[in-house]
């Protein structure tokens, strides 16, 4: 059987490259009836903020051609309730758990990490969601500025010894530049991509299909965009890249590995079938054998 383990640095090894993405697998045990989480390469939690957040009013999602839009608004219970009620279950799983961290200031991100560290629960590390509006900077997202990204990353680097992954936004002119800023700040890895800014409305009434108007596009529609971004990021940095965006199948996973990803995350596809991640992980050895690839290492970055 092909060895599927993936080493990500800082002593972290995943049993396979297939993780589930932030905001697409709930808080914890919602779908534990359907699958054994320990077969997943890793799991990223919903983005957690310091205080509880109501999130955005409904409607929060709509379907688009081969995709979906969402504006959930980081609805979450806050880090305190999360560490008390949900994290113990997650930390007990035999898979790499990453807490996704959201904030509206550098201090808030740091406080979330500090709270998780205080809980003394065993997790693999953190994914930093930099697609959050920085209230001190007029609501511009952290993730669109290399300076902000670097500053935030180095501040959080100082807050934890655990694995630190920075999740990049595709809504920028030069994603490689932002990835390099995260690398300079001390990130162990970057993940990409978060959702693409989009919008949908009812033509008859003009009412936005998602209440906020501008919102985030995900799913197979954006897969070509995600592959392009992961390709660019892989060229720009030397730390590992975790790829995502529209992955629906084992073929898609291999596409991301071939453009340079070390591991991948599955988002929207979980809504169709929460078992998809482990199913793909199970199919991976057979598919690699079929295309006569000895292992993941041999095909990584081989797109040409």
């Amino acid at each position: 059987m092909t060895d599927l383990t993936v080493t990500l640095g800082r002593g972290l090894t995943l049993k396979n490259p297939v993780m589930v993405a932030s905001g697409t697998f709930g808080y914890g045990d919602e779908v534990a009836d359907l699958l054994d989480y320990s077969e997943l390469g890793g799991l990223v939690t919903k983005s957690i903020s310091l205080e509880p957040r109501d999130g955005h009013p409904p409607p929060r999602i709509c379907e688009t051609p081969a995709g979906m839009l969402n504006a959930i608004g980081w609805a979450n219970m806050g880090v305190e309730a999360f560490c008390r009620d949900n994290l113990p279950f997650l930390a007990g799983l035999r898979t790499a758990v990453f807490v996704s961290v959201a904030g509206s200031s550098q201090a808030e991100y740091a406080h979330v990490i500090e709270a998780v560290e205080r809980s003394a629960l065993e997790i693999a590390g953190y994914e930093i969601n930099i697609s959050c509006p920085h209230v001190d900077k007029g609501g511009l997202e952290f993730g669109v500025s290399p300076e902000e990204t670097e500053k935030l990353t180095s501040r959080l680097r100082a807050a934890t010894e655990r694995y630190l992954m920075v999740k990049l936004s595709p809504n920028v002119t030069d994603i490689g530049e932002i990835a390099q800023a995260a690398e300079r700040g001390g990130a162990d890895a970057v993940s990409a991509i978060n959702t693409v800014i989009g919008m949908e409305l009812d033509p008859a009434t003009g009412i936005f299909k998602v209440q906020t108007g501008l919102c985030g596009l995900s799913g197979p529609a954006i897969r070509p965009i995600a592959l392009a971004n992961v390709y660019k990021v892989s060229q720009a940095v030397s730390i590992p890249v975790v790829g995502m965006g529209g992955i629906m199948s084992v073929e898609d996973v291999v596409r991301f590995i071939r453009v340079g990803a070390q591991a991948v995350q599955i988002g929207t596809a979980n809504y169709r079938d929460p078992r998809i991640g482990l199913q793909i992980a199970r199919e991976l050895p057979g598919y690699l054998a079929k295309i006569e690839a000895p292992g993941l290492e041999e095909i990584r970055g081989s797109a040409h």
């Binding site: 905001g23 697409t24 697998f25 709930g26 919602e30 779908v31 009836d33 359907l34 919903k46 509880p52 109501d54 999130g55 955005h56 009013p57 409904p58 409607p59 929060r60 999602i61 709509c62 379907e63 051609p65 081969a66 995709g67 979906m68 969402n70 959930i72 609805a75 799913g219 197979p220 529609a221 629906m248 929207t268 979980n270 809504y271 169709r272 079938d273 929460p274 078992r275």
Partner: protein, 266 residues
């Protein structure tokens, strides 16, 4: 909650614009309760991307039924399924209506909300539990039951072509007027306008009421947070930081207490 490959046993027109599909699903049948729904994968391609939620409309042994209208691509494709088609179905999901002490249940269904109400009617009938059923539609052709108030079945139509001319509120008033003072409770499901009417009618008459809502759903199982429903926050809970402004239709509902719901937008 389980993922079941369900064989389509039949799929045909039930009334004007309304289809009924019967599927073999032992697991879903064993667990399903009125007000719960299933989430259906329409096809393995990228469009439509998301599953389609459908209420359980009846259960007979290991066979369950759906009653549905064709709206868009998903339901159009479902309507073309032939007996023998295997459907990938996730369910049963959500919470149903909950028991109501000694009050007489008045079941009110409109639009595709008749589906879960039909299941509730079936279960109460099987249990020999007294109840009244009120179903609303635009015209008689859209109804699949007979108007029979003496048997507890009241139909309403907008155009008066069957049962009582008017909305389900008119049917509800008629049903209430037939009870001599027995305490009642309203259990309803229907389009947003009907839910608002039921909410304001029952609140102004201080009748306990449980309503099943329909929200756009991404997953149906609580992992996308997309199906938020605005709820009135109980002041004391809010103080304690426990009140949540938005609850999830798929996990916390789709049935909510009417007093809890903030029904604003169509």
């Amino acid at each position: 909650m389980l993922l079941e490959e369900c064989e389509v046993l039949s799929n045909k027109t039930l009334a004007s614009g309304l289809y009924e599909m019967k599927l073999e699903g032992p697991g879903i049948c064993a667990q399903g309760r009125p007000g719960q729904f299933v989430n259906i994968l329409v096809n393995p391609s990228d469009t439509p991307l998301l599953r389609r939620p459908m209420s359980i409309a009846h259960v007979n042994g290991t066979t369950f039924g759906l009653i549905y209208k064709v709206f868009g691509q998903g339901t159009r494709e479902m309507s073309s399924w032939q007996p023998g088609h295997m459907a990938d179905i996730l369910g049963p999901l959500g919470n149903g209506w909950w028991p109501t002490d000694d009050r007489l249940p008045l079941l009110v269904g409109g639009g595709v909300g008749i589906a879960p109400i039909n299941f509730l009617h079936q279960r109460l009938s099987q249990a020999g539990a007294p109840h009244q059923l009120i179903m609303g539609a635009r015209s008689g052709a859209e109804h699949f039951l007979e108007h029979d108030p003496s048997a507890g079945i009241t139909l309403t139509t907008d155009d008066g072509s069957a049962g009582i001319a008017g909305t389900v509120i008119d049917g509800l008033k008629a049903a209430i007027s037939r009870q001599d003072n027995q305490a009642v409770t309203v259990l309803g499901c229907g389009p947003p306008g009907m839910l608002r009417a039921l909410q304001s009618f029952t609140m102004s008459h201080e009748i306990p009421c449980q309503l099943a809502v329909e929200e756009m759903m991404g997953c149906g199982v609580g992992i996308c947070m997309g199906c938020s429903v605005e709820c009135r926050i109980d002041a004391s809970l809010a103080q304690a930081g426990e009140g949540r402004r938005y609850r999830l239709a798929c996990l916390d509902g789709p049935v909510f207490s009417a007093g809890e719901l903030v029904l604003a937008r169509d």
